[in-house]
Amino acid sequence: MIVRTGGIRSARSSLPVGELVFALLMLGLGIFALVGVFGIRVPAGATVGPTAFPILVSAILLVSSSAVLIGVLRGQRAQAEEGEDIDESLPTDWLTLAKITALVVAHLALLEIIGWAPAAALLFGGVAWALGAKRWWMALLVGCVVALVVQIVFAGLLGLSLPWGPLLGWLGGMF
């Protein structure tokens, strides 16, 4: 648990669990890549088979992620990236991240059923709401406009095959 008192990070001294887990996952990827090498057939007569490069890649992953792990354990913490819209004094807002991820999944699941534009409007409105847009109906309205414009310009005029869906099928028929 990360305890915050008056904006001072008391978590600094404790073990950085997230960082260690991520480095371990990268190490795991290296092991997965190395194990995968044994599943690749080497054709007879090839001087350099299809396994040479994967072995090299596994080695890079294994060595570098081990170096990161050792560094973290010795107290070399990562420098998180900075940005104009990021308030570094805030704790990570996992709920918002979960909402956004769920909205993207909903978008990709729905877009071939209800059509691209409605699914896109839902994604835009939902994400804006999750990020704290003041009026949810305004967010949805802007989403509808943006989605419609993209659908008409790219699917209607430029001919990309974005599904129109049952709601806008009549509009798609006009192009």
Binding site: P50, P54, V57, S64, G71, A80, I86, D87, F124, L131
Partner: protein, 518 residues
């Protein structure tokens, strides 16, 4: 002389009205998206890539040239006008530009950045025109072993120099190489690392990785700690007509030229791209200035030099990209993808096989520079409006266009799922200090590296010494050792320098922080 006739033919193509419109649209879109806060040049190019899918190759490349220059330039407007204390220390230009704007000299800062970018961009494009054909002619004679050497150089410099820690950069590179392995292997026709999943059989599209890492990853990263409340913008007093005084011109022209001289060569070698160039230019200006006291408090030289260096480096990056097919930055890696989607493979043969296309592209770089200058100053009002977009809408829009771009690759919803997974990976990489650029470069160069390595060893019948005995390759590895040493030394200097700089200006900065907060 020959390349001049070809360049003139290129101009004849690029000056046609329909291509001028595409160049104009490219610059406008590139700048507009580049101005948006939180969007760097790599993300600008990745997000706008789907727009060019519907165009024919020449039009698409001309649009892309505009997007590239516009995106490179757009960021400076953001850092001059957006008042976010603390963050600016990471980009040296932002310190001076931001301070100038606070002193009511925002118009002068924007003007010196725009004119400096134009001059540097034009001179550097001239350098590209002169250097590229010579290099391409030389590169035709390079064998597979030499290419392996060049690709190893790109791997190591990009992995070690982009980012704050060498091991983390190499992890990022390794993940990129691994993603490049997924799919069907060309020679034996078998699948590698696809886990038997059908969508992975053709490999993961690079567009998904680039857009996922930059757009989705960045959106998630910002969403986790979004700065709420009103957006603090510094108003530009007096219109753009009041630009620069005579003294501003006098203080700017030398930094412009010096910035160009620093930026272009650094851009051509794989040494970390524009970041290193801007830092070096800033340090040089500070050292040469007779008013050192003004630095950190709004010195115009500190905007003029680094901005020129930034754009000169952008043109320099195109030299290895066009002549050798080697991307040295994440942005360049995405541009290569754009080329490949039209079946054009950048490399030494490009200048002889597609001269019309290449020279039209080079010509449109000159034209794009002019458009950039003409557009930027009068449109400051629009850029200010863009900066005021409420952040929930801005990031919702970025995410929507990212999903649109991913879907437009194959029109398959599975691609959006892959995009999301890569985005989550990008989020955690940012959070734990892994640079994302080496991943993109590794994914593009990995398959090229494997093909060249196998070809080289096939020729030598498995004799590994072939990789280092070719004179060019041997020389390249020697240069690599030098580059790494110099690059790491520079990085350390840069970090120490920025730290000292932040501390030296910390007093005024924390003072107005106190007033602003609480």
């Amino acid at each position: 002389m020959d390349s001049w006739t070809l360049l003139m033919e290129g101009f004849a193509t690029a000056i046609q009205p329909q291509y001028l419109v595409f160049a104009f649209l490219g610059v406008l879109l590139g700048t507009a998206v580049g101005v948006l806060p939180g969007i760097g040049p790599a993300m600008t190019v990745a997000l706008l890539l789907p727009l060019t899918y519907t165009l024919e190759p020449a039009a698409a490349l001309i649009t892309f040239a505009g997007i590239y220059y516009g995106g490179m330039y757009g960021g400076s407007t953001t850092s001059i006008l957006l008042n976010t204390p603390g963050e600016s220390a990471s980009i040296v230009t932002a310190i001076e530009g931001n301070k100038m704007a606070k002193l009511g000299r925002g118009a002068a800062a924007l003007a010196t950045a725009a004119i400096g970018s134009f001059i540097a961009g034009t001179i550097a494009t001239l350098g590209l025109t002169l250097l590229a054909p010579v290099l391409a002619r030389f590169a035709v004679n390079l064998g597979p072993a030499d290419y392996v050497a060049l690709i190893v150089i790109a791997f190591v410099t990009v992995g070690a120099l982009l980012g704050s820690s060498v091991p983390r950069g190499m992890v990022s590179l390794g993940v990129g190489l691994f993603l490049g392995l997924i799919g069907t292997e060309v020679l034996s026709g078998q699948q590698r690392y696809t886990l038997g999943l059908l969508p992975l059989a053709d490999g993961i599209d690079v567009v998904l990785v680039a857009v996922g890492l930059f757009a989705v990853g960045e959106t998630l990263y910002v969403a986790a700690r979004l700065r709420h409340g009103p957006i603090a913008l510094i108003p530009v007093t007096r219109g753009w007509r009041s630009w620069m005084t005579r003294e501003d011109w006098k203080r700017s022209w030398k930094p412009w030229l010096r910035g160009t001289a620093i930026g272009f060569p650094i851009g051509t070698i794989p040494a970390g791209g524009a970041d290193v160039a801007t830092f070096l230019s800033y340090a040089a200006e500070r050292k040469l200035s007779r008013r050192k006291g003004e630095f950190g408090r709004g010195a115009i030289e500190g905007v003029a030099g680094p901005e020129a260096a930034n754009n000169a480096a952008a043109a320099g990056v195109l030299v290895p990209l066009l002549t050798l097919g080697l991307p040295t930055t994440a942005t360049a890696a995405i541009i290569i993808t754009a080329f490949q989607s039209y079946g054009i493979q950048p490399g030494p043969q490009l200048f002889s096989s597609q001269p019309g296309l290449v020279w039209a592209l080079v010509a449109s770089l000159y034209i794009g520079n002019v458009i950039l200058l003409v557009l930027n100053l009068p449109l400051v009002g629009i850029w200010v409006k863009l900066l005021q977009i409420p952040r929930p809408y801005l990031y919702a829009g970025i995410l929507l266009f990212a999903c649109f771009g991913a879907y437009a690759v194959n029109f398959s919803p599975v691609d959006i799922l892959i995009l999301l997974i890569i985005g989550v990976l990008g989020f955690f990489m940012r959070r734990y200090g892994y640079p994302v650029a080496p991943l993109v470069v590794g994914m593009i160069l990995g398959p090229m590296g494997e093909a060249q390595l196998r070809r080289a060893l096939q020729l030598s019948q498995g004799d590994l010494t072939t990789l280092v005995t070719h004179p060019f390759a041997a020389g390249a590895y020697a240069v690599l050792a030098l580059l790494i040493g110099a690059g790491l030394w520079l990085k350390r200097r840069q970090r120490r320098y920025e730290q000292a700089l932040t501390e030296s200006i910390a007093v005024p900065l924390s003072a107005d922080h106190e007033v602003g907060a609480r």
